[in-house]
């Protein structure tokens, strides 16, 4: 297992700076969530960590290796509907292994167990359009876990789900994560999701994106969904909301 180290990443597109001197660490096995208002460059940051895009300045290290090009140590969980419609659940889940030239024959049982683990047992032959949003995101997760990455990069994976399904998937993610030794960097704009999942919450400001705050989450694991209804949880969310409010006010409204 390896951690992620982001050092002084800056990135501009045509219409101005998106990220400015962003630095943070995610220790090996740590669950880090990044929250921030829309347009703060969260997704760009995650794509740079994965090597899908390049920063103008700075560097990303995974373990000891400097990232250049799509990183083999990472697996990216995209937002909804990133499944190949022509592949069954099983074939979608094995896509990453296929492209990374991992031996399929010897990993077939492991993949089957993985599908079971993420709650897709019995769905192997279904096509994505036959699945609900929640099930589709389980396939996305299985596809990423199948390549056995050190780091899981998740880009608002539950944003397109309805409120109840989202809560179930948060709990499911923690259950699955507990069985897999993975470092996770998880992006969301939902504060309660960020706090519920994370060991640490990073708050991003925008225009350009910077890390505005870095908050440790003290709650024990395993965490029940009822944790979200406790006073301590509410206070922590409140505190993070305060930071974001300040950030938004300082950077000129919504």
């Amino acid at each position: 297992m390896k951690g992620v180290s982001v050092r002084g990443i800056s990135k501009s597109f045509g219409n101005g700076a998106v990220l400015q001197n962003v630095s943070f660490n995610a220790e090996a096995g740590e669950f880090v969530t990044i929250v921030g208002p829309s347009g703060c460059g969260k997704t760009t940051l995650l794509r740079i960590i994965d090597g899908l895009e390049e920063g103008d300045f700075g560097e990303v290290r995974i373990g000891d290796r400097k990232v250049g090009g799509p990183a083999r140590e990472c697996a990216f969980v995209f937002q909804a509907d990133s499944l190949m419609p022509w592949r069954t659940v099983f074939d979608n889940a094995k896509l990453g292994m296929e492209l990374r030239k991992q031996d399929l024959a010897s990993n077939k049982d492991r993949l089957q167990e993985l599908l079971q683990l993420v709650g897709l047992g019995g769905y192997e032959k279904y096509y994505p359009r036959q699945l609900s949003g929640g099930l589709r995101q389980r396939v996305n997760l299985a596809r990423a876990l199948a390549v056995d990455p050190d780091v899981l990069l998740m880009d608002e994976p539950f944003a397109a789900l309805d409120a109840q399904t989202r809560e179930i998937m948060q709990k499911e993610l923690l259950r699955i994560w507990a069985t897999q030794q993975k470092t996770v960097v998880f992006i969301t704009h939902q504060l309660d999701e960020a706090v519920y999942l994370a060991d640490r919450v990073l708050v991003m400001g925008r225009k350009p994106g910077v890390i505005a705050d870095d908050i440790s989450v003290p709650f024990d694991r395993p965490r029940e969904l009822s944790l979200k209804r406790t006073k301590e949880f509410g206070q922590l969310v409140e505190r993070i909301w305060g930071t974001i409010e300040t950030v938004i006010r300082e950077t000129g409204g919504i």
Binding site: D50, L52, P70, R72, C74, A75, F76, F78, Q79, D81, S82, M84, P85, W86, L95, G96, E98, L99, R100, G119, L120, G121, G122, Y123, K125, Y126, Y127, P128, R129, Q130, S132, G133, G134, L135, V147, D162, Q164, T165, E167, I168, M169, K171, E172, R175, E224, L225
Partner: protein, 289 residues
């Protein structure tokens, strides 16, 4: 699990251990009883429509028009077809026209897919070729048929070329559109797992384009049949279009109708076969173009 269940589309979905007993809200693709009943009903409607059409045609031809020179009835057409068969011309005409249509369709479709993929991946080639493609697609290439006959002779290859020229352009346009409209997220997914651009093409773009390519093939069937008839009208030694031309010059309406009916039936049969191919190759594509 804490017993909470996720609710989507009015059905209860599984979480964790509940998966085993869970009833999927939709069967995997395949013949469920309800599906095959629905298909049989749809087929019945089409069959009834054809039969009613033929009966109307017979009644109008027999009682309203009453003169086979203006409108040959289905029965007269059928006997015309029998005459063509027994006099020996029809089997050979069918073979010649079938060959022309098949070769032209296969070569034209293959070239169309290849050129479409090429211009989708190569911006310069697209700039260079697009004016010609849009131009030729919009031109009645039929009008060029006499020249093609002049160039390629009276044998089957002049007709094959006419068919190719009709089949190729819609296929180029469809294939190019399929690859161009490929979901960028799916390309990103493949790239994030280290896919080369050839792998992105093979594992994402080509599959995404499959429904477009199949639609191009379906368009091609009709155009191939038209190409054969028109090509043969302008100059041939044998073939169904040639037979239609001869029947017309002899005012033999039953035989003329027979030729036309054979083309129409071929069109229906081949389009249906392509629909079957589509269901076999792309069962996942029902909701997409």
């Amino acid at each position: 699990m804490d017993g909470t269940r996720e609710t989507v589309e009015t059905e209860v979905l599984p979480t964790g251990e509940e998966t085993a007993e869970f009833q999927p809200f939709q069967e995997p693709f395949g013949a469920s009883a309800r599906n095959s009943n629905r298909r049989r009903a749809a087929f019945g409607i089409s069959a009834a429509s054809i039969i009613i059409g033929i009966v109307l045609w017979q009644l109008i031809g027999q009682f309203l028009v009453g003169n086979s020179l203006f409108l040959a009835t289905p029965i007269q057409t059928l006997s015309g077809m029998r005459d063509m068969w027994t006099s020996g011309g029809l089997p050979q005409d069918l073979a010649v026209s079938g060959e022309e249509a098949l070769f032209g369709f296969l070569i034209g479709s293959a070239l169309g897919i290849a050129i479409g993929a090429f211009i989708a991946k190569n911006k310069v080639a697209k700039r260079v070729l697009t004016p010609y493609i849009s131009g030729f697609y919009a031109t009645p290439i039929i009008a060029l048929a006499p020249i093609l006959i002049l160039w390629f002779g009276l044998g089957i290859w002049s007709k094959v070329v006419v068919v190719i020229s009709l089949v190729i352009f819609p296929q180029i346009i469809n294939t190019e559109a399929g690859i161009r409209t490929t979901d960028e997220t799916l390309r990103d997914v493949a790239r994030s797992y280290g896919a080369s651009s050839i792998e992105v093409f093979r594992k994402v773009e080509l599959w995404w384009s499959l429904p477009y390519i199949l639609a191009g093939l379906r368009l091609g069937v009709g155009r191939a049949l038209i190409g054969v008839v028109v090509g043969e009208l302008f100059g041939a030694k044998a073939g169904l279009g040639f037979a239609i031309y001869n029947a017309q010059s002899e005012f033999n309406m039953p035989q003329l109708f027979a030729g036309v009916v054979i083309f129409a039936v071929s069109g229906i049969v081949f389009t249906y076969l392509l629909t079957l191919l589509e269901m076999a190759l792309a069962p996942w594509a029902k909701t997409r173009p």
